[in-house]
Amino acid sequence: MPRKQAALKRRTTLTLPSDSLLQAQKIAHSRQVNLSTVISEVVAAGLRLESARHRRNQILENYRTAFTGFSGDELAILDGVILEPVGAGRR
């Protein structure tokens, strides 16, 4: 079975709010892991949320573009109701 490749890591310096740092230290202590692990998990979760938020906004924006600027009859056609001028089609 192929082994999962460990994510590449880089050292950096961050300035964090004291209360957040304190909370993260408490979590690390209670779970007996180091502070970097807790901060990494929190950052990954935050990035997933941000990505989901971006995706949702993009969907809503695309929906607006897809249905904007059409008349009522044109919107009916987009909904699958094909309207023709009365007497124009085979009845």
């Binding site: 989901a52 995706r55 949702r56 993009q58 969907i59 809503l60 695309n62 929906y63 607006r64 573009t65 897809a66 249905f67 904007t68 600027g69 059409f70 009522g72 009859d73 044109e74 919107l75 009916a76 056609i77 987009l78 909904d79 699958g80 109701v81 094909i82 309207l83 023709e84 001028p85 009365v86 089609g89 085979r90 009845r91």
Partner: protein, 179 residues
């Protein structure tokens, strides 16, 4: 209000259109919350109806207006989430539905100077049968904006459970009740 967490749902063509163009803050909030929990699911039939609609508008439009329609079509295709296929199970169930109710339960639509032909109404009714079958086979509620047609399908399935073994009931949610 329907809890977005109660999903996933399948959205009928007109329900998708209703949600996408509804500017009510409550509806937009509901859709935003729903998209945070589930992919937006539609039937492949909805994609067919929608793309056919863009195609017809494009052909009917002046060349100068066609760019706008193409932008709208591409925006629609860019946001497609989970498209449920018409597979053999869906085809069989849709065939049973259409056999039970061969004619559309409501008349063709009309507007001021335009009307839907009988052939188009029948085609749309059969598309609705395929969409209802998709929800039934997937075992998820169908959100719709067309109570008369889908309630007729739901009732027919309830009256003839032997034609739908192991399936049903068809759960329906009217889109105006979502938010």
């Amino acid at each position: 209000m329907v809890d977005p967490a109660a999903g996933p749902f399948l959205f009928d063509t007109s329900a998708e259109g209703w949600l996408a163009r509804n500017a009510s803050a409550d509806v937009v909030r509901w859709l935003y919350a729903y998209l945070g929990l589930h992919q937006f699911s539609v039937s492949a039939v909805t994609v067919t109806e929608r793309i056919r609609g863009y195609g017809m508008l494009w052909r009917r439009s002046d060349p100068g207006a066609r760019g706008r329609i193409e932008v709208a079509r591409i925006a629609y295709l860019s946001q497609l989430g989970n498209v449920l296929p018409v597979d053999s199970a869906v085809a069989v169930v849709a065939g049973e539905i259409i056999a039970l109710i061969p004619e559309a339960p409501t008349p063709p639509r009309r507007s001021h100077r335009l009307a839907e032909s009988r052939q188009e109404r029948l085609a749309r009714w059969r598309f609705d049968g395929l969409i209802a079958a998709t929800a039934l086979v997937a075992g998820i509620p169908l959100v719709h904006n067309n109570a008369s047609d889908f309630e007729a399908i739901r009732s027919a399935i309830e009256r003839s459970p032997e034609r739908f073994p192991g399936l049903g009931p068809l759960e329906l949610i009217r889109c105006s009740l979502l938010a």
